[in-house]
Every structure is written in structure tokens, then in C-alpha cells.
């Protein structure tokens, strides 16, 4: 995946992105960059624009102004083929959104067959491989309704991963899960981060952010309040607002 020629350019660059819904400014002038194998965590109170930011990257939401680039692709250019873009960007949802009528394996292979045009046999073996990678090699034929929340989200990760995207987006992947099921999902995400997957993650999992992230961004009211390496942001925040927010979620998660 790492082409030598591209190594110096950022994989993802977000430049002055703004977005509003009616009178509500959801994102104002947001800019950041990600290199390959970076793991960037987006944090902030609800309504701060984190999820919107994520959705702008694969154009589930369109920006009002600003530019997003992914490799050579100008994401925000209206002439960019969204289906092609989405082939390069995997997404994991808060609501998981597994295809309810398909088994775990078929959830993973649908995109492989219909988007990447693989034959059933190749898709199957790749699907099995990715489900094994998230520890679900024994649940290939289970339907989403038969899986626990944590297992479902792991299938969701495998489904996105199997497409071999250049960038993985995680939109609060553990927020809808029972507390005891969060660990297994975070563990899979940690493994991915360690394996060099480029990840943009909206989460409040401080443990994950501390251990796995290369960058952390604190958003509020659609603006970047502060960003930097997680150790700096978490241990020595420069802005009061960041400190306050971190204190609140830390006490919430530690209790």
C-alpha cells in the first residue's frame, strides 16, 4: 500500500472545511493532515461536528467549502466518482449497520463481489481471512441478529477492512455497545493501528487514544480547539476547554 513516491505527501489532507445545516454551523474552517499509518483521534462534546467531519471524508456528507484530498483524489471535487472514492475509504458506524439479511461472511463479501468484482470463491476466502482477523472465524454463517453487539461491530470492521481501503473511518464504533463488549472491539482496533492501518477515529475511548493514536484533535462547536500528539493533548492541554473536557470524560470512563 505504501508507494514510495507518495510517502512524503500526506494521505489525507483536510483544508478549511466548513459545513452548516441551515443556521447551524457544524464545521468551521477545519484543517488537518494525516500521513499513511497515522491514527488520528477526533474528540469533542456531542454536536461538535466530529461525525460530520468523518462523513465529509467519504462524502456521505458534502462540504460547503474547503477541500479534502485523499492521495491523488480531490474528494470534494463534484466530478470525483464517489463510488471510486468509497472503494478507498472504509467506514465503521456507530449503529454498526450490518446488512441484516446477510450472514457475517456475506456482509463482508458483498462489496468484494459487487464493487471489487471478485468471483465468489476468491471473495469467500478473503472474507474468511478478514473475519478470522477480527476473531470471528467461527461465526461465518451467523446472521447479525444472532451476534452480540461486539461481534457485530467486529464484522463491521471486517466488512470495511476487506475492501483494503487506504483509510479507515471509525464513527464512535463503541458508543452503542454494552460496556463489557467494548473491549473486544477496541482490541481489534488496536491491532489494526499496530499493523499500520491508517485510521481516523471518532471516539471517547481514552485508553485507545492514549495507546494507539499518533494524533489527537479536540473539536468544539465545529472548530478545532487544540490538536497534537495524544500525550501532549492529554497530559498537558494548552487550552482550558480541552482540559475540562478531558477531565469530564476521564472521570466518566474511570468510574
Amino acid at each position: 500500500m505504501n508507494e514510495a513516491t507518495n510517502d512524503t505527501d500526506p494521505l489525507l489532507s483536510v483544508e478549511s472545511v466548513s459545513k452548516s445545516y441551515g443556521d447551524e454551523q457544524v464545521l468551521s474552517d477545519v484543517s488537518f493532515e494525516m500521513d499513511r499509518s497515522d491514527v488520528t483521534v477526533l474528540m469533542g462534546p456531542s454536536g461538535s461536528g466530529k461525525s460530520t467531519m468523518l462523513r465529509c471524508v467519504n462524502r456521505l456528507t458534502e462540504v460547503d467549502s474547503g477541500e479534502i484530498r485523499l492521495g491523488d483524489m480531490v474528494v470534494t471535487d463534484p466530478s470525483t466518482n464517489v463510488d471510486e472514492l468509497r472503494r478507498s475509504v472504509g467506514m465503521v458506524f456507530q449503529d454498526i449497520n450490518l446488512f441484516a439479511h446477510l450472514t457475517a461472511l456475506l456482509n463482508v463479501t458483498l462489496g468484494l463481489r459487487k464493487v471489487r468484482g471478485m468471483d465468489a470463491e476468491t471473495a469467500r476466502s478473503l472474507g474468511v481471512e478478514h473475519l478470522e482477523r477480527v476473531g470471528l472465524g467461527d461465526q461465518l454463517d451467523s446472521y447479525p441478529g444472532e451476534l452480540s453487539g461486539g461481534q457485530k461491530q467486529r464484522v463491521g470492521i471486517a466488512r470495511a477492512l476487506a475492501m483494503e481501503p487506504e483509510l479507515m473511518l471509525f464513527d464512535e464504533p463503541t458508543s452503542a455497545l454494552d460496556p463489557e463488549l467494548i473491549g473486544e472491539v477496541v482490541e481489534v482496533m488496536r491491532d489494526l493501528a499496530a499493523g499500520g492501518t491508517t485510521m481516523l477515529v471518532v471516539t471517547h475511548e481514552m485508553g485507545f487514544a492514549r495507546e494507539a493514536a499518533t494524533d489527537a484533535i479536540f473539536l468544539e462547536d465545529g472548530r478545532i480547539v487544540e490538536d497534537g500528539p495524544p500525550e501532549q493533548l492529554f497530559e498537558n492541554p494548552q487550552k482550558d476547554r480541552t482540559a475540562q473536557f478531558l477531565e469530564r470524560i476521564t472521570s466518566m470512563y474511570d468510574s
Binding site: 446488512f99 458483498l110 459487487k114
Partner: protein, 246 residues
């Protein structure tokens, strides 16, 4: 009309020993069976036409452009708001469909049959469109989003993710629709189509003491058809149900 006293079915049933009016019904079992065949054929053809037109119409109501929606909805409102007898009068007398599409010259069916299929089929399409619209809309929007995020186009996402789930949810509604269409085939008596009820009427006009018996026999046939088919559709529903937590 073919022989009033059937040989085969009546013979098999062994009509002797029955009370006189039941004996009359029994002896004419073949004649009624001929009507039954027509009723079943009419039901199936109408439901198929209803599906062929109703499913795309329902999809247009959900995914179509504003004008396409408006057109489909308007036709639907008219069809759902018109009594089936009136629709038959239109398809048979006012704008006889067989004038433009003389299908009855190619297929071994009457022009009344074609008019009835078109009438029942179009009206069923209007109802099936509502049914499919509802089931398409009932599929969570996250399913479409996830499909698009994987890189499927909108059409592929509809086809591979939304429709398979929507169709499963349509079975109970389809059971209603089947039952209604089956029973409303009897309204084709108004355009003289020799379906089950029409043949029954011909019989009890001949043998006026047997009105109750003939009507009861016919009702039993409708009941067996609706009950049997609904049970079969229940099976289908269970067979293709999306597995939930055990």
C-alpha cells in the same frame, strides 16, 4: 358452455346418496371446477401484473424524481379510489383493452378475461405499490449508508441490500392482497366472465331450490383457496425470515 353434468369429477365424488340439492351441486362439480380454474388463473395473472407494475411504482414513490412520484401517486389515487366494477366497465366496455392488445386471439382466453386481468391487475398494482413503498421505507436508512460506504452505487445498494429486506417484509401485506384479489375475481361476473361465482349463478338459476347449496359450495372453495394459500405464504415468510437472536 361445456356439458352441465360432469362425468369425471362427479363420478369420482360419488354423488349418489346425497340430499337432492347437494347431489345437484355434486353432479355439476366439473362445471364449477372449470370456473375454479378460471378464478385461479385470473388471480395469478392479476397478482403478477400487479407485482410487475406495483413494485416499480412503489420504488418510484420512494426513490423517484418529484414528477415521477407525482405521476405514480396520482394514478394510484385514482385506481384505489375507483370501485372494481367501475374499473371493469372501463376495461371491458369503455376502453376495451383487447381492441388495442388483441391478446385473446393469441392466447386461449376470452376478451372478458383480459379485461378482468387488466382491471384487477392495475388496481392491485396501486395497492401493491403502497405495500412496497412502506416496506422499502421501513428498511433503516443506515443500511443504505453502509452499502454506499462500501462503494455500491445507489442502484446496487437498493438491489442488493434494501430490496431483499423489503421483499421479506412485504409477505404479510401480500397475503392480504392475494386474499382480496382472489375474492374480487368474483366481481368479473359483471362482465360475464365464466369464473367460479358466475358459474355458480348459472347453476342456481337452473335449479332454484339449490341456491344455498351452490353458494355454500362456492364459498367453501374460496375459503379453502384463501386459507391454503395463506398458510403456504406463512411458510414462505418463516422460511425466508431474517434470523434473529436464538
Amino acid at each position: 358452455m361445456s356439458g352441465v353434468v360432469g362425468a369425471t369429477l362427479a363420478g369420482a365424488l360419488g354423488c349418489a346418496g346425497l340430499p337432492a340439492d347437494w347431489q345437484f351441486v355434486c353432479q355439476n362439480a366439473d362445471y364449477l371446477a372449470g370456473g375454479l380454474v378460471l378464478t385461479v388463473a385470473l388471480t395469478i395473472a392479476s397478482l403478477l401484473l400487479g407485482f410487475a407494475a406495483g413494485f416499480p411504482a412503489g420504488a418510484i414513490e420512494v426513490y423517484g424524481s418529484r414528477y415521477a412520484k407525482l405521476a405514480v401517486e396520482s394514478v394510484g389515487v385514482v385506481l384505489r379510489g375507483t370501485p372494481i366494477v367501475v374499473i371493469f366497465i372501463f376495461t371491458f366496455f369503455v376502453f376495451p383493452v383487447t381492441t388495442w392488445f388483441p391478446i385473446h386471439r393469441v392466447l386461449p382466453v376470452s376478451d372478458a378475461f383480459i379485461a378482468a386481468v387488466v382491471g384487477l391487475g392495475l388496481r392491485s398494482a396501486a395497492y401493491q405499490a403502497q405495500m412496497f413503498r412502506g416496506s422499502l421505507q421501513s428498511v433503516d436508512a443506515g443500511q443504505m449508508e453502509a452499502a454506499r460506504a462500501v462503494g455500491l452505487s445507489k442502484v446496487e445498494a437498493i438491489r442488493h441490500v434494501v430490496v431483499p429486506q423489503a421483499l421479506r417484509r412485504s409477505v404479510p401485506g401480500f397475503q392480504n392482497e392475494f386474499t382480496i384479489v382472489l375474492k374480487d375475481t368474483s366481481v368479473a361476473i359483471a362482465i360475464g366472465l365464466a369464473e367460479l361465482l358466475t358459474r355458480g349463478q348459472e347453476l342456481f338459476v337452473q335449479e332454484t331450490t339449490a341456491v344455498t347449496e351452490v353458494i355454500l359450495a362456492i364459498s367453501a372453495v374460496y375459503f379453502v383457496l384463501t386459507f391454503g394459500t395463506n398458510r403456504a405464504l406463512d411458510r414462505l415468510n418463516e422460511r425466508y425470515a431474517i434470523p434473529e437472536e436464538a
